[in-house]
């Protein structure tokens, strides 16, 4: 892998950019690997990367039925934050956020992490109390957040109407080192680094079956033939239920559509990420000037990557109330992703009933922010066969044991 640097850029500028090599090699599957990861989205690629980097396992294949990063990694609103209430959530999301801080240097690929600050508006007294509690919890967890008054909200983001008639802004939970990153670059950067370690990233290779012997996984059937493996990691988000069924177990997961949209590009008008959970919409401005907007999920199982239009209407209605200046903006593009929702709205990073088969799913509506931490924890689980401290609380057995990590109550909405 040729190193990206200002000198490389200058060198290539002198020779009409003829010397750039492919970011990752086009691979054909080998007969056997030490580890196979199903799903080349952010979480799958990060798992492969940390398997190599932290655990020295590089005989790894990442299988992807579509194209790399074309699922939810390419369909989110790129928000990164770690201001969670429950300790296990705060630990893994903060690990991820901390890894994002140096990810560009680590991968030698500019993921454009922009710690511009994330603000979660409190628009009811209940929310004020909730976020004050979260701010205290975060202080104990070592996550830098603070509860700020409306005046400070207005200073940080002047386009917010803080004295709206229905839901005036009563304060906000402010995480100054939260922000956004370039979603495609995260997938591409991890893929390039994996490829450089000699891993195979095999696109357009759909897994059609899981083969096992004596209760242990032996490989996967794919559209490109059988691929043997010692360890299998299932990291497929929305389609987790399908792959789990192939491996012979059921999950506490439902697949629903979550939509997002962007406006036409406008001049810079907000340099923070704002989430308004009472009215349920969130918005940030991309580097291209588009307002990036998201809201709530649909209420029914859906695999079509398109959602119901009335949810877009609800999201925009909420945001126009909060940001009156966007009322005349034209919306440019809208899309949907299939998110895997668990009962407690927390992810699953776990061993499964099938030996040597591991699953990482259930990130629901908030997976992008967790990519590096999720990959770190999943790689540890796959390499050792037992979860490390980050993943320990996220085992699938928590549902049977009633040991939920209840972020659905903590956040009040999908998060």
């Amino acid at each position: 892998m040729k190193h990206y640097s200002v000198f490389a850029l200058a060198r290539e500028a002198m020779r009409h950019h003829t010397g750039w090599e492919r970011a990752w090699a086009r691979a054909t599957p080998k007969a056997r690997y030490d580890a196979v990861i199903v799903g080349a989205g952010g979480h799958g690629l990060a798992t492969a990367y940390y398997l190599g980097k932290n655990h020295g396992i590089t005989n790894v294949a990442v299988l992807e039925k579509g194209w790399l990063g074309g699922g939810n990694t390419g369909r989110n609103t790129t928000i990164i934050r770690s201001n969670y209430l429950q300790d296990p959530s705060a630990a893994i999301y903060e690990k991820a956020r901390a890894l994002y801080e140096t990810l560009s240097q680590d991968l030698n690929y500019n993921v454009m992490f922009s710690p511009r600050g994330v603000m979660m508006l409190a628009q009811t007294h209940h929310e004020v109390r909730g976020y004050q509690r979260t701010a205290h919890a975060n202080a104990l967890q070592g996550v830098a957040t603070e509860f700020i008054p409306p005046r400070r909200v207005k200073e940080l983001c002047p386009i917010i109407a803080i004295d709206g008639p229905r839901y005036p802004v009563l304060g906000a939970l402010w995480q100054p080192r939260g922000g956004t990153a370039r979603h495609d670059a995260v997938a591409w950067g991890y893929a390039r680094a994996c490829s450089a370690m000699g891993m195979d990233i095999i696109q357009q290779c759909e897994v059609t079956g899981v083969r096992s012997e004596g209760g242990r996984v032996t490989g996967v059937e794919t559209t490109k033939g059988f691929i043997g493996t010692k360890k299998l990691g299932i990291v497929v988000a929305g389609h987790s239920g399908q792959v789990a069924e192939m491996a012979g177990f059921r999950l506490p997961v439902e697949a629903v559509a979550l939509q997002a949209l962007v406006s036409e590009p406008i001049k810079p008008c907000m340099d923070v990420v704002v989430m308004a959970n009472t009215v349920h919409g969130y918005m940030s401005q991309s580097d291209k000037g588009e307002m990036v907007i998201g809201g709530g999920t649909d209420g029914f199982n859906n695999y079509t990557q398109r959602g119901s239009f009335h949810h877009i209407e609800e999201t925009l209605r909420a945001l126009i109330e909060t940001f009156p200046m966007i009322s005349r903006l034209k919306m440019l593009r809208q899309w949907g992703g299939i998110v895997d929702m668990t009962g407690d709205r927390s992810p699953i990073i776990s061993k499964t009933p099938l030996g040597d088969c591991f699953i990482n799913c259930g990130w629901g509506t908030g997976g992008f922010k967790a990519i590096p931490g999720s990959g770190w924890a999943m790689a540890e689980l796959m390499a050792r066969g037992e979860p490390g401290p980050l993943a320990a609380a996220f085992g699938i057995e928590r549902f049977r044991e009633g040991r939920f990590i209840d972020e659905s109550v903590a956040a009040g909405v999908a998060h």
């Binding site: 059921r250 209420g299 029914f300 199982n301 079509t304 549902f399 049977r400």
Partner: protein, 106 residues
């Protein structure tokens, strides 16, 4: 927009009139059930990519619960029926088979 005909009041209800209730025909685990049965009833879901039976409530209409057969891969609706029934009635199964030959309940 998803439109389901409420079998209780006969109104063709738009999605915004309805409240979702997710998977139908779950068998309630009683007080003497094992942990596995209880987990299965409370949390494990079929979540199929294809034919799915769900509970819906005509929230902004007659207010009653009913069940619907729908395809999660195409958003096609096969029909709706009473929430009193323990399994999909013959006409719903026939409507599904007319569109998905050879379909078997899982």
């Amino acid at each position: 927009m998803l439109i389901l005909t409420c079998p209780c009041c006969g109104v063709a209800a738009e999605e915004s009139e309805l409240a979702p209730g997710y998977e139908a025909h779950l068998k309630r685990a009683g007080a003497d059930a094992s942990d596995d049965d209880f987990e299965s009833y409370m949390f494990a879901r079929k979540n199929p990519k294809g034919v799915h039976f769900e509970r819906w409530r005509h929230a902004y209409g007659c207010g009653k619960w009913f069940l619907a057969a729908r395809c999660t891969a195409t958003l096609e609706v096969f029909g709706t029926y009473s929430a009193q029934l323990p399994e999909p009635p013959a006409e719903i199964v026939a409507a599904i088979r007319a569109r998905r030959p050879g379909w078997q309940p899982s």
